[in-house]
Amino acid sequence: MIPTPDLSHLSRGDYDHVYEPAEDTFLLLDALEQDATELLRSRPLICLEIGSGSGCVSSFHSFSNYPPVYISTDINLHACRCTRRTGLQNKIPIDSILTSLTGALMHRLSHAVDVLLFNPPYVPTYSDEADDAQHDAGIAGAWAGGADGMQITNTVLQQVEPTADQSVQSLLSPTGRFYLVAVKENDVPGIRQRMLDEHRLQSQIVLQRRAGREHLFVVRFSRG
């Protein structure tokens, strides 16, 4: 069993600004643990987490014999700092970058990401609320997802794998895997169908769980 990362260095004050790990976070950890053997076998070189928040997920992997480069992004400076500290606390060197989604990395990480992780702001809100939350780069940006909770996720989905128009840059390496957290309101079957039709990516639901009002999913996409 892979231990849950040590977060004892983070305080209430940190969680005023940064999303505190909750059921969605732990479902993603459980999914990664379930896939750990396969992930290790694929010998990943680059792991990228978009929106790393506390750094709990980026600090979780244990590819002990073959440690990849862990790169994380967040638009919230507090989150970048927490991610960096959580990496240090758990002895995992995480390169924490202050940027929106994949900004500044698309150019060089084209077809280079072996493990892509995204626990997006998935809560359906008014569209303006999601825009404002990203603009403010505070804690609301961790959950406010706009229409169907998909406003931010849709932007990332377009970057994972090109459509028929090959001029679009994409992130996944030939053997890359993309783990996405979603809720029922996001229309998980719709996302999977769209990724298959438009991007030719196969997908599987790794885990799903009810937590309070939320029905959470972790979906894994790959070239099959």
Binding site: R43, L45, I46, Y66, P67, P68, V69, I71, I75, L77, C80, R81, R84, P93, D95, S96, I97, L98, T99, S100, G103, A104, L105, M106, H107, R108, L109, A112
Partner: protein, 123 residues
């Protein structure tokens, strides 16, 4: 932290800046050295993902001249140790990275690179 492995993966993404936007030039940097776990297999695998001249140039800007102009065909332990040090053990804590094309400045503070763009700079 901005290790040279990270620097090798960052490019300017300001609106309209799509060529000559890599590598970012280092300016006024403060560096710390920290030991990292050596893994020869990882280095051998990762070398295909590196933009070699950019790495060599960045290392030389920081006073490390240990890497050859071209990666050698025989990657012996001596070479891999040098590569390990340059890629993973040199941490830029403070300073800035500047786009060679549009001169956009990306500050580095407390080891975190600020790659955010203003509203009008987003492509």
């Amino acid at each position: 932290m901005v290790r040279l492995i990270t620097h090798n993966l960052l490019a300017c993404h300001a609106k309209g800046c799509t060529s000559n936007n890599f590598p970012l030039q280092l300016k006024d940097v403060q560096v710390e050295l920290r030991d990292a776990e050596y893994n020869a297999d990882f280095l051998r695998g990762f070398i295909s993902r590196i933009e070699w001249p950019a790495l060599v140039d960045a290392a030389r800007q920081l006073g490390d001249t240990s890497l050859p102009n071209e990666p050698p065909e025989m990657m012996d332990d001596d070479f891999l140790q040098k590569l390990h040090h340059v890629l993973l053990e040199i941490h830029i804590e403070e300073g800035a990275m500047i786009c060679p094309n549009c001169a956009h400045v990306y500050p580095i503070s407390n080891g975190i690179p600020n790659m955010l763009l203003a509203e009008h700079e987003i492509g």
